[in-house]
Symmetry: C2
Amino acid sequence: MMLDRGLVFMSDTRTNAGLDNISTFRKMAIWEDPGERSITLMSAGNLATTQAVVSLLDERSKSPEDRTPSLLGVPSMFQAARMVADTLREVIAQHADTGQRADSTFNATLILGGQIKGGPHRLFLIYPEGNFIEAAKDTPFFQIGETKYGRPILVRAYDPQMSFEAAMKLLLVSFDSTLKANLTVGAPFDFHCYETDSLKTGWTGRVASDDPYFQSVSERWGDALRDALDMLPDFALTSKPDPDAL
Amino acid sequence: MMLDRGLVFMSDTRTNAGLDNISTFRKMAIWEDPGERSITLMSAGNLATTQAVVSLLDERSKSPEDRTPSLLGVPSMFQAARMVADTLREVIAQHADTGQRADSTFNATLILGGQIKGGPHRLFLIYPEGNFIEAAKDTPFFQIGETKYGRPILVRAYDPQMSFEAAMKLLLVSFDSTLKANLTVGAPFDFHCYETDSLKTGWTGRVASDDPYFQSVSERWGDALRDALDMLPDFALTSKPDPDAL
């Protein structure tokens, strides 16, 4: 999510290979060179694919003697997005090339955001085909994975001027709606709040399912929703039976 | 939706054969024999299939001299669900048998609800395969078609003791969330509120997109949601950078 004051990232940690085989894996990776850049990557889709992408990017960034450009070397966020997108496409192509068949595809979708010195903070959504789109004022946030249940509250309550604290609340409420409807999404939630022009990792952490704040928000959000609905006027059932309906 | 006081049905009217080809069609049909029974059917999926199902059921119910049992003749809601499910399966099988290929499948899903004298009011979800499930206390409402965007508010705000007027408001708010996110769902909305043991069609009608009540609820719901979120405490960003995150 893109705010005036920076970027807020949140990812769940549930992965599954069928309903009877779920695990917890981090889906957020951060690369930083303090004073120079901070780049965050979140992933959805095939875990083997996304882990391979992160590992490849990570290896490159840890071999500075290597001439291969890395996320810590690219000059702009646009170049970073291109590098990540190319890596994603290569990994998917590699797996597909073996001719193996899998029940699910090797596809994955990524969200990449951050800032590199000399440029603004930017946010990208990267498709498995290796192309990508950038967040702008009209579409200031991206979702990947199970996006639908949590979307209505994001659309309604997003405000570019909101604080990190309010944005975190909004994202947790959005995830909570998804959690209640889809077993393939689950706590804990990893987060990163990046402050514009800080050029270093900001607030990061993990919100567990038994986190007192998360539990309280989850419980109180139900009441708050019901109260909000109560405040709206009821529908007036004055209509007569409609002959067309029969 | 199943309430203590009866059943509330609501359907949109948008159908599409591609984003560039949308139309308005009624997706709700009602059969009644006042004092004896009232049965409501809603459909999602292939329009040719669902219209054929409704026409077949309709023809049967209008030829009382015919020995074929009809929705106006079956002795119970369970038998009504079986008849509708069989009809649906036959229609789908017929189309599939021709060997024609279509871009989309001929599948459809139905919601059937109502009451027949001597039995309780019941609500069924009928699958294209011709089997069906019944609503119960644990799952007191069904959705078909684009179900995800509108589900969180239903889960949170449903109350079996709510009035028809409040239930209508809830359904319109739920549809409004879907409307804002999926172009294949669109107003006007048809509705039917059936009162338990009335054994006749209750309040029916159509809510247009420019209906002043619907417009007001849609606008005020956004504000109400933001207010509700504001009332919850913000997240406290006290966490330190997480070394695992890097």
